[in-house]
Amino acid sequence: MSGVVEKMRASRKVLAEYKYKPAQIERGYAGKTLYVNLSTKNIESKDVTQQMKDIFIGGKGFGLWYLWNAVKPETKWNDPENEIVISPGPIAGITQYPGSGKSLVVTLSPLTNSVMDSNVGGYFGPYFKFSGWDALEIQGKADKDVVLFIDGDNGRVTIEEVDLDPSASHLLSEQLTELMAESEQDRKNVSVVSSGSGAEHTRVGILNFSFYDLRRKAARLKQAGRGGIGTVFRDKKVAALVVKFSSLSGKSNNPADPAKIARTGVKITREINKFDDAQFRMRQIGTANLMTPMNDYDLLPVHNFKYGSHKDAVGISSEVLRSRFTQKMPDGCWVGCALSCCKAVDDFVPKTGPFKGKKVIVDGPEYENAAGLGSNCGIFDPDYVIEANFYCDTYGIDTISTGTIIAFIMECYEKGILNKEITGGLELNFGNAEAAMELIHQMGQGSGFGKIAGQGVRRLKKIFAEEYGGDPVFMQDIGMENKGLEYSQYQAKESLAQQGGYALTNKGPQHDEAWLIFMDMVNNQLPTFEKKAEALHYFPMFRTWFGLQGLCKLPWNDIIPESNATSDSPEKIPEHVQNYVDLFNAVTGKNIDKDEMIRQSERVYNFQRVFNLRLGFGTREHDAAPYRALGPVTEEEYESRQERYDKQLKEDVGINPEGMSTAAKVAAMRKYRQERYETLIDVVYKRRGWTENGVPKLEHLKDLGIDFPEVVEVVKKHL
């Protein structure tokens, strides 16, 4: 045992203890929730009700329900009553179907001040459930840093003070894994949730969920990245959550029909083995397989989303990243995931910062990291991308928000809103990797200009206007946030459906609700407003479903079955949708169909919308998008794609661009695109059963069976 861990072990001081008999899992549910209050040190068990299972299903649904009951309309993210709820969902933990080990985390966000949810891999969720719990509610705040231990082998939960350093997540995960395990082999039975120093100093803190990689002999990390959940975690003075469960088997989830799960799992695993190398190469490159096609289709964000491609993007292409990943490793973030997308760079040696010169394992880069930290900031150096990825993870800050924040700052710097005096000497031009890396260290360590940058784009717009005289209108146009959350890394300008997919979301612009760019722009499968509205109903509901179950979305459409070639709705991948219906029924013993699947999501989705309303958000004004997400803000942007835009003016808008100044063309294009966006909102709201102001109609809530008195009370105020 290492000296650090020895010291940790000796320092353990139990502040509260709760002993329990781990519940038997019945058809995917433990039937119990673990409630922990850090202020009072109270630990208790709550029953999961039948109504919760019927209406909220699990995962994000449980998280929203518990949070709804925990907070008041005026609760802020850093109030003690705010909770972090982690719930895996009924399907989570099966080993036979790829992507079945996810946890959903829900809290009030320091970025949006509203409800945030994040879907994350790693072993914590399944081990936590098999330790006897469907959900974990963490409320209150500790005085000093604490660790919550959940020992599922012995039925013991403790809140403890431990002498540890919470600043570097990769080290803390490793140390706590070693602390809890009795041997090297036993380490695979431990999972740690932690954050890092960056979560204490910014609003973009993440949670890292670990899984022990037996081949690399190291704890690896997956992120609940969006919306500052790690910031809440550290504000509550939680240093880590640690779970141990040593009896994992193919039967742990105790499903109603294990044979059906096995049949479905073997079928898709064979599919992956047969087709992945010729399709998306998830096993070789993970999501970074998107780097090259996104650049080719002008969809890769470049220079704060001004452009969709760059001549230097070849520097961080899919192939370049593939060459950096260690190959032939089963990189699944949960056991049994044949898609194995979570790639790693082994033996990477950072050139800067506290781990300069030391060998580290970097989890990623995934597409979002390479696009956000790389191309969006005009940096096309793979070593920079890998190093920035590593530090964001270990400091506990969101790579997506960090990328979009730095890109915004760089554009402000180039526009003269910021200068070297303001940034403390950092020359934050697009492409300056050295300055960007230093800014990440400052965000991670809470120093210099990093303290300001870590506030997120929405607050930066205000600060730059008030303190440095920046033009608020211009910054509103180019600051890529909606609801306070930074955009994830897809160029949406040429896909109206994706513009809605980003901004007509519950939590803010994250592609996990709807990713319609290819369907809309490349394949032209959504030519009318009605078709776009249908897609913006169906896909957000369908994708929400993964978050209710503890599933990953990737095995749905990052592997395409043979049957899709003859399918009448190939964009939905009907065979795989049926797989999921079969899995749910096989786990729970229920008998839902594809329509009920969408209804399950609609209940939770509309409940989340009402939750936003309750907190003072959730209406049409909050679904507005920055114009940079809809079209060319500047003349420079227009001229870079002049042929395309002139053609659109002529053919779509009915204006002859000849003889017009670029400024006039930008204005005409803007009027047209903004009107279309407003029309899109109208048709989408209608399809979703909402008023013109985006409020779910009472009859819709009644039809869904979520017309609880407290829900109706919130909605009535807006009708």
């Binding site: 036979q96 088997s249 039967k251 294990p258 096995a262 064979r270 089963p330 044949a338």
Partner: protein
């Protein structure tokens, strides 16, 4: 190493190998619980004998290191470590990592040679490779 060699032309689909294997390892005569399985080809133009050639492709995809090659070259599943994910079933190039709905873990031929001794036509035999 020794593997079960095949000569499909001699196979009469009598099922003696399947009975031997499933009876010995699972205590019941159930052909789908045998680690060697014989069947008529889909085009009815011959037979297929499905039995592991000990290639070991399954070893590298096992997430919990439950599959290993012994000194004698045989690929073995450690049932105590196995978590029943069936990745090995999905990746097996010869379709001879088997699973059965009664069982949580997969199973395969470990070249014990019992079936070869019962084959009446020498369609299967132990072979040094």
């Amino acid at each position: 190493m020794n593997i079960v060699g095949t000569n499909v032309k001699e196979c009469t689909l009598c099922g003696a190998c399947e009975t031997t294997c499933s009876t010995f390892y699972f205590k019941e005569d159930k052909r789908h619980k045998s680690a060697i399985q014989v069947e008529e080809l889909a085009d009815k133009q011959g037979t297929a004998i499905k039995v592991c050639n000990q290639c070991g492709d399954c070893i590298e995809v096992c997430p919990v290191l439950a599959i290993r090659r012994t000194k004698s070259g045989v690929v073995l599943i450690n049932k105590k470590l196995c978590v029943g994910c069936f990745n090995c079933v999905g990746v097996c190039p010869t379709g001879t990592m088997f699973w059965h709905e009664d069982l949580t873990e997969p199973f395969k031929c470990i070249a014990c040679a019992r079936c070869t001794k019962e084959c009446p036509t020498e369609a299967i035999f132990m072979q040094e490779v």
